[in-house]
Assembly symmetry: C2
Homo-oligomer: 160 residues x 2
């Protein structure tokens, strides 16, 4: 399959959102996607973007995305976080995910980050095996904690 | 106990690092702290800081810290990440952690983030129970994945 990896443009927002939604369906939370294509445009393609995005493009169709932003470790310093690595389901197993991950690792290395991090569902064994084969460490002793929008409101009502 | 919560200043860097190191010892990774106080100063107190920090100060001693930075959820939008919430061991159980967490939640609410996230070790039941009592959701189905500095180098040697 012929495709190219490039930085995302503002006009890709609709197709990017479509892949984000595809992943949310796979992760059994289709109703969780609250962002619109306009939100994505505003967040990712203004003067101070909240994230950067690489896309895999086949013809005029975006078949994969990698969304990244900076984080900070108080042990190591600046790190890069891979928020989403998504390949359209019908095109998996053809090296698109690897090509996008390569781009992210090369980028992280060039800007000198001390770590690249991401999160994976513990039942997604295909993804876990893929990441392990690349040398990543899956840290099953750390749990992710969320206080969502409703939780923030409740917290302030109860404890402030 | 009398203490006050305030934003950290550059001159706090040494005491902040001392608390970071104290937590690393508790988390059984004392050798993992690679940052110096000078690194912290440069990262956190320049024109474009990598993080923000609140401190709890008792007299002239910093007894607790909360270190935060922005992240981005492709489902929700801008989120706030709590990288470290640390209270010096001898002063735990006196409300310092709660006061710092309150400050972080109020801050997140004021800037309108859609979620506040953090990570917790799965054997740290005191912390887990504390967070749950505040309405946070501990997501044990998500694993944290790290490709560390050595992993990045090896990746590029093998797969590029």
């Amino acid at each position: 399959m012929s495709y190219r990896i490039r930085k995302a443009k503002s006009s890709d927002a609709k197709q990017i959102l479509s892949l984000i939604t595809e992943l949310a369906v796979f992760e059994k939370e289709p109703e969780s996607v609250e962002l619109s294509a306009a939100d994505l445009k505003a967040s990712g393609f203004g003067e101070f973007p909240d994230f950067e995005c690489f896309v895999a493009e086949k013809g005029d169709k975006i078949v994969g995305i990698a969304i990244i932003y900076m984080r900070f470790s108080t042990w190591k310093g600046r790190t890069l976080h891979l928020e989403d690595l998504i390949v359209s389901e019908s095109l998996r197993g053809q090296g698109v995910g690897t090509a996008l991950l390569n781009k992210v690792i090369i980028y992280g290395s060039k800007i000198g980050v001390k770590r690249i991090s991401w999160e994976v569902l513990n039942w997604n064994t295909d993804a876990i095996n893929f990441y392990k084969s690349k040398g990543a460490i899956v840290k099953s002793d750390w749990n992710v904690v969320h206080l969502d929008e409703k939780g923030i409101k409740n917290y302030l009502l109860k404890f402030k």
